[in-house]
């Protein structure tokens, strides 16, 4: 084992550790589950943990690697969730459930990717905080539109409406409601399992880590570090920004599909797909050390588990969570505490930290 590790160069070793961490966690949890040690409470969290980890990795590509702040990432997850659940609902039992689920995930990714590309075109005309606020706006629009979208199907085909179920002119007796406005999609089969979640997480990691180490990835990072210099050596900035954003949206779509098939009823509520959720993903990325996929996953898992572990002190748990968040940020990022850590040789406790990351490419 050590021999293999020492033969690899540093980047592949780093990637190897990341994959190993995910696979190792999967193995340990599977064993615990088989032995029946794992509480059902944690068992129910496994798929959401995968979803959040995938979202963290996906957002890290935009925030950490591309260096643009996006606070609307839950919108892409929302699109992926609705597209995939809609497909599953339309097909019904006409397909074996596994095949249907795989196609649903692909459709979720595809739709989120298409919208990511379309939204990226106007978004990347802006920069810095203006870009961030526009991503927030798009995220809220997606949530809002999904919340007032009615789709039904009867003998005459599909019917759509953005105002109410009665407006779409569907045959009320024989028709079937597919998306019912604020109630969303109900009766989605719960196809998501921990194994599938881990497989999608590994796939996302594989795509993103390979993208980062490729020629395209270096171009994306050069845009982050200095977009003027990047442009002057002939890098097409818009192209690479769109590429990173679209890939990130596709992966968020996968996460959405996984999320949708873990719930029997899917509704575009603020708690699920609002800006609060997008901000939570951003917290994962920043706390995990901007630009580090592994850190993002660890932060996602830790920050999802903290409120659960604090459940015994029910009413104080979210208060304590917020205090932990503030303290962790100050300890990790403030110049004073960094100097203290460096003086006392505590460097290894610091999260990885790149000066250039997240500055909006300036």
């Amino acid at each position: 084992m050590k021999k293999i590790l020492s033969q690899m160069d540093q980047t592949s070793r780093n990637d190897f550790i990341t994959y190993g961490m995910v696979i190792g966690a999967f193995a340990v949890i599977s064993i615990l589950q088989a032995l029946g040690i794992l509480s059902s409470q944690i068992g129910g969290l496994l798929v959401p943990l995968c979803v959040y980890s995938i979202m963290a990795v996906s957002l890290n590509l935009v925030v950490g690697i591309l260096g643009e702040l996006s606070i609307g990432h839950a919108g892409f997850m929302c699109l992926g969730a609705f597209a995939s659940a809609f497909f599953t609902k339309c097909v019904g039992d006409g397909m074996p459930s596994m095949l249907r689920f795989v196609i649903a995930i692909l459709i979720g990714g595809l739709i989120a990717g298409v919208f990511g590309f379309l939204i990226g075109i106007p978004v990347f005309r802006l920069n810095g905080d203006y870009l961030a606020i526009v991503t927030l706006a798009f995220g809220e629009i997606i949530k809002n539109v999904m919340n007032s979208l009615y789709v039904g199907r009867d003998a005459n085909g599909f019917h759509f409406s953005l105002s109410s179920a009665n407006d779409m002119g569907m045959d009320a007796l024989n028709g079937e409601m597919l998306i019912n406005g604020p109630q969303g999609i109900t009766g989605t089969p719960r196809n998501s399992t921990f194994l599938i979640g881990i497989l999608i997480l590994l796939l996302s990691l594989f795509v993103i880590l390979n993208l980062i180490h490729s020629r395209q990835g270096r171009a994306i990072m050069s845009v982050r570090d200095n977009h003027i210099a990047a442009e002057s050596v002939g890098i097409n900035i818009t192209k690479y920004k769109l590429m990173a954003f679209t890939v990130s949206a596709v992966i968020a779509g996968f996460a959405g599909a996984l999320y949708a098939h873990n719930l029997s009823s899917l509704a575009a509520t603020s708690a699920r797909f609002g800006y609060n959720m997008s901000i939570m993903f951003l917290v994962f990325v920043v706390l995990g050390g901007i630009g580090s996929s592994r850190g993002a996953i660890i932060a996602a898992v830790v920050l999802t588990l903290i409120p659960e572990l604090l459940r015994p002190i029910a009413s104080f748990r979210m208060l304590l969570y917020s205090i932990i968040l503030i303290v962790m940020m100050i300890v990790n990022w403030s110049p004073a505490s960094r100097a203290f850590m460096e003086k006392h040789k505590l460097n290894r406790f610091l999260f990885k930290f790149k000066k250039s990351a997240g500055k909006g490419g300036k």
């Binding site: 005309r125 905080d129 706006a137 951003l282």
Partner: protein, 293 residues
């Protein structure tokens, strides 16, 4: 036509509240260069302070409003000193953004612990009766909101442009290092900015809950985001921009709610923001900063 003008007046009323909140956002951004996500929750704290003094303790309304302002000012100063100042020179601007989110969670959950998560009925602090001008009915809160916002913006403009602390703010906004070389205490100036912004948030909180009387720990979240949008709309960092942005946003929101769709009104507000930013990438009154190599 009558209903259109009534809606327009309602829009201006909501917009003037957004404007007061947006000014707090815009001042903090202009000087500290950070998005203070906790600003919306300071509004909520102000409203709860007024609610406690007026409804629970039964003290007169002016005392309640004053208490809300004092409470929020101190809170704003405390937040800045404890949570934001240590991160002022952190390597990434994202660090302080996340801390602001942490503060926002803290305020919301703290309020939930103290006051419970159920919605309280806030009794209006405005003694003015509904005015009828010809065919139009203008609620008292509307008149007070619009007047308050106009007065606050005028006073603030005079303060910023005519007084020494105001000039210090402008200097810090332009170049922090140069300002400190000129003998301006950057730390005190930033604290002052937070204090003013938070005091205005208290006023906005009381007005908001007088117009829309439901008060809960999450009351401030959505108006906070909307006001943020308003600040960006007007060009973030510009006080008159925040005023215009807030008013426009309120009018657009009420009109789209009345004539297009209630459910989609938020989506329309955000869509207008996107269109404005695509046409004018730094907002209506924003300064274009030329980037040099």
């Amino acid at each position: 036509m009558v209903s259109f003008i009534t809606n327009l007046i309602n829009g201006l009323s909501l917009g003037s509240i957004y404007a007061i909140i947006a000014i707090g956002y815009t001042m903090v951004y202009g000087i500290a260069k950070m998005l203070n996500f906790a600003h919306g929750d300071v509004i909520m704290v102000g409203a709860f302070a007024a609610y406690t003094i007026i409804s629970t303790m039964g003290l007169p309304t002016p005392v309640g409003i004053l208490a809300a302002i004092v409470c929020c000012t101190l809170l704003g100063i405390a937040i800045e000193k404890i949570a934001y100042r240590p991160l002022r020179n952190a390597g990434s601007p994202l660090a302080v953004l996340i801390t602001a989110i942490g503060v926002s969670y803290f305020l919301q959950n703290g309020a939930m612990l103290i006051f419970g998560s159920d919605t309280k009925m806030f009794s209006s602090v405005v003694p003015l009766q509904t005015l009828s001008v010809g065919p139009f009915l203008i609620p008292g809160t509307t008149i007070v909101s619009i007047l308050t916002s106009v007065i606050l913006v005028s006073v603030l403009q005079i303060f910023i442009n005519k007084t020494r602390p105001g000039q210090a703010m402008l200097a810090c906004a332009q170049d922090r290092a140069a300002a400190s070389l000129m003998g301006i205490s950057v730390n005190n100036t930033i604290t002052l900015t937070f204090a003013i912004g938070s005091a205005m948030a208290a006023v906005a909180g009381v007005l908001l809950c007088s117009a829309y009387p439901a008060l809960s720990p999450t009351t401030g979240a959505m108006p906070g985001i909307k006001a943020f949008v308003a600040a960006v709309f007007g060009g973030i960092g510009s006080v008159p921009g925040a005023m215009v942005g807030g008013l426009l946003l309120g009018v657009i929101e009420i009109l789209s709610r009345a004539y297009i769709s209630t459910q989609l009104s938020d989506a329309i507000v955000f869509a207008v923001l996107i269109v404005v930013l695509l046409v004018k990438p730094t907002g209506l009154f924003g300064k274009v900063i030329q980037e040099k190599v």
